[in-house]
Symmetry: C2
Subunit: 172 residues, 2 copies
Amino acid sequence: MSKKEALLKAAEDKVRLGGYNNFSFREIANEVGIKSASVHYHFPTKADLGAELAHQYTNAFLGALGDVDDIKANNQNPIDVYTQLFRNALLTDNKMCLCGLLGAQNESLPDKVRLEVKRFFDLNLAWLEQAHVANGESEPSHAAILTVSLLEGAMMISKALNDHSYFKLATK
Amino acid sequence: MSKKEALLKAAEDKVRLGGYNNFSFREIANEVGIKSASVHYHFPTKADLGAELAHQYTNAFLGALGDVDDIKANNQNPIDVYTQLFRNALLTDNKMCLCGLLGAQNESLPDKVRLEVKRFFDLNLAWLEQAHVANGESEPSHAAILTVSLLEGAMMISKALNDHSYFKLATK
DNA sequence: TGTTATATATCTACCAGTAGATAGTTATAT
DNA sequence: ATATAACTATCTACTGGTAGATATATAACA
């Protein structure tokens, strides 16, 4: 893993625990073994780092979801696949959804970060809408909003109460 | 409004926009017209301020909800009342739920703040469970978690996309 | 009544630590 | 030679927090 990748990973962990202000160049530099000034070589500003972080997170998330048609062709329910990905984010990483937390902080974020957070949810809603269409739902866009709201909310409450059983209960 | 109340109000606005780190003693002191050092007279530490803020927010929220039995006696659906309170928080204030945002940041918060956030959700779930019981739901505690998750999640997504119609759609 | 004591709420001045950012330098590898 | 990736050193601004002074109002006492 390159230093740049390591910096993004270190930042991701911290943001997913406490939001955009929960990491500093000094902290993540120390963690990967370089000086804070050197972080600016890879990311001119903190906003650049934040935006790239959200962008990569979105790409990784959508990539892990895969293609709705492929999932259906495999006789799986894409909504279950989606739910499972959220479950892993919470249970395996023991952390919030990066863009969920950033989304809640939206109005205090730099513009370019905000844009990437919007991209995450736009793409998620589009994927979910397609999934609900494939499932024969009568109101797929409505169902898409319900799905992502429930999952993000259940994640938040599980974090707030520090008890993952709330998420499990909300998604069973 | 006393200076102390004004400080809490100023802090609340900022926290609901960007989380716990989104306000400083200097900022809120300036807003109410005193010096930052004087804030420490009312709140020894920032954690004390945060905890008192969450405590008051919780009390105000539960107070605004009122009593489930009274609502039923008035031929209203308590879940509708609950939903309406969330809707007002988002549409009128144009801000996140304080404890929702803090809950998502949970692991980066001082202990005494975390405790107050937990209190918010414990009390909310208890209220909702009672409401679902009154509505004759077969699984009231399960329904309570679904209700609060959906509302907090819908709020988050509406903030992230900066479009309240998502909340309206998720709660209609 | 006049004096003293106490509590409240603010102030000035300061501290050590941290924030993101910049300029200019050095080492390495193509 | 050039590009990459780090470095040292430094800057300004801001962070929460502390010490000690000050003004004001009320309460207690002789």
